[in-house]
Amino acid sequence: MADKVLMKGNEAIAEAAIMAGCRHFFGYPITPQTEISAYMAKRMPKIGGTFLQAESELAAINMVYGAAAAGARTMTSSSSPGIALKSEGLSFLAACDLPSVIVNIQRGGPGLGGIRPSQSDYFHATRSTGHGDFHMIVLAPNTVQEMFDLTLEAFDLADKYRMPAMILGDGMLGQVMEPVDISRGNNIKTYVKDWALTGTKGLRKRNVVNSLYLSAEELELLNFQRFDKYKEVEKIARTEDYLLEDAEVVVVAYGICARIAKNAIDTARKNGIKAGLIRPVTLWPYPKHQLKAAAEKAKAFVVVEMSMGQMIEDVELSIRCSRPVLLCNRTGGMVPTREAVLESIEKAALLKGEQNADSI
């Protein structure tokens, strides 16, 4: 406790990146994540790192591409519209197997939308961050401590699996200040990157970072191989569970929604409903086995999210549509209340536990 410092979620991400050895940050301002850039702008010059405010989100993600290709730990950060602009670049990063960390502090959309918290980029993060077949690792913190911890982990996983990793937060997590224990940041793994572009020095064959394959056979093979790797990565899928053991109503929620859900679950328990929580910490890979296991005991599910219903598809697919799933959602920057979650739990408790085949 003595070692904890108060930090905003955005600042925790920035500090974690620095402690993880990230010395190259490329950003473009956008609310509600500007603190990340501000933090980097302050610290990087003092530690010999690069803070560069790019001319646009597109430039930023392509600077990340360059820095990652050079073998550096590198990061960019933005919020929903800015992340949409990075779609092509993210596809390139994945296609070239370049480790890199991308932060999306989501806000309400579509369009310019608003600046209040949202989770409506879930599909974008987990399904199609850009064109083509690929995935990023997607981590979903729900406290400032986790903003810190998962950022550390994102750098590690990105290097380990040679792929981009995303921190998927929201405006509220970015803005909230909570105590953080940063001591973990002192224990960092490093990886050899013999594929990096550092100049041949005449000592090796040239390295090439490329995603163009005019032979479809070759491109297909690479895609298949990359998806084989993804099978490996699926092992890191994980959840935090709360009162799940005997839960008949299982709430599934990530990020800030999970914390609201906890409060609601506490109340539900007091009211005699056996409610529990599965909080996916990894959104890709999705912890489908954990959900499946829970479905064996549960009667019904409640999905809480700040979107029109996106993660709910993963829940239904994970449990093979074997239980009714209720959606408790807000959108456009609104945040579900504990009361609304509680109400959904109560409704779910009344369900039979048989999948209502017409519920779609």
């Binding site: 190259h24 490329f26 690069t50 560069l52 790019a54 001319e55 646009s56 597109l58 430039a59 930023a60 392509n62 600077m63 990340v64 591409y65 360059g66 820095a67 990652a68 290709a69 050079a70 073998g71 550096a72 590198t74 092509e88 670049g89 390139f92 070239c96 572009l197 550092t198 100049g199 041949t200 020095k201 005449g202 000592l203 040239r206 390295n207 090439v208 970072v209 490329n210 995603s211 163009l212 005019l214």
Partner: protein
């Protein structure tokens, strides 16, 4: 007998995929010769654009990053910031650099990013089959200006060297052509100077090279060079547009 002219070492043995008579090949050789002469191949990282030169990593014997269409200067920035001792050059066509990538080009120059840009201006989108480029001449017929570029609707060509010369971060900007032996020699000098500026840390350097696209111009290679000489050079005057170390 002694060899007096031969393939530079910085160029691989792989035959290029360029069309017969396409001067991309000449420009490749010039860049490679400069790498050889400055003895920097081992420190150099090239950026391949999206354009006919997209797979130039098969030809240059240095490390190469292939960049998304137009983003080569941003990619170069990322690479250079990580390893400032590397020599980083992008090789870009007119569509790549002056259409989709205008922003990245201008801001890399404005930052005085210590990189070198080899800008191959052939007044057309070669790779995609001959569409109008930002540098397509007024009246020039292309796939997307089938009645000749009409400045009323398609606007005016960009003169990138002139534009970039207005920026404080640009150290060196020169336009050359590879239509004749004399100009090829000048082009090489310019390329060498641009790399030397980077080695000396002087700031952003760019060499715009007027180049031919026999295939999409619909001309025999020799005729294409004539067309270049008669039409492009008057519109895109050769010469040095900026030559001044960036003072920070």
């Amino acid at each position: 007998m002694q060899i007096v002219f031969e393939k530079p070492k910085a160029l691989s043995d792989t035959p290029t995929h360029y069309c017969p008579g396409c001067t991309h090949g000449i420009i490749h050789r010039l860049v490679a010769e400069v790498l050889d002469e400055l003895d920097i191949t081992g420190e150099t990282i090239g950026i391949a654009p999206v354009g006919c030169a997209v797979i130039h990593f098969n030809y240059f014997e240095c490390d190469v990053a292939q960049a998304a269409h137009g983003r080569a200067p941003a990619v170069a920035t990322g690479l250079k910031r990580v390893n400032p001792d590397n020599i980083v050059f992008s090789y870009q066509g007119d569509g790549d650099l002056a259409a989709i990538g205008t922003n990245e080009t201008i801001h890399a120059a404005a930052r005085g990013e210590n990189i070198t840009v080899i800008f191959v201006n052939n007044a057309i989108y070669g790779m995609t089959g001959g569409q109008m480029a930002p540098t397509t001449l007024p009246g020039q017929i292309t796939q997307t200006s089938p009645y000749g570029r009409d400045t009323k609707t398609a606007g005016f060509p960009l003169r990138m060297c002139e534009l970039l010369a207005t920026l404080d971060g640009t150290a060196y900007a020169e336009r050359v052509a590879v239509d004749s032996v004399k100009n090829v020699l000048k082009a090489k000098k310019a390329i060498k100077k641009a790399f030397q500026y980077q080695i000396d840390g002087k700031g952003f350097s760019i060499v715009e090279i007027l180049s031919s696209c026999p295939t999409n111009w619909g001309l025999e290679p020799v005729k294409a060079l004539e067309w270049l000489r008669q039409n492009m050079i008057p519109y895109y005057p050769l010469g040095v547009f900026k030559d001044k170390e960036v003072s920070r």
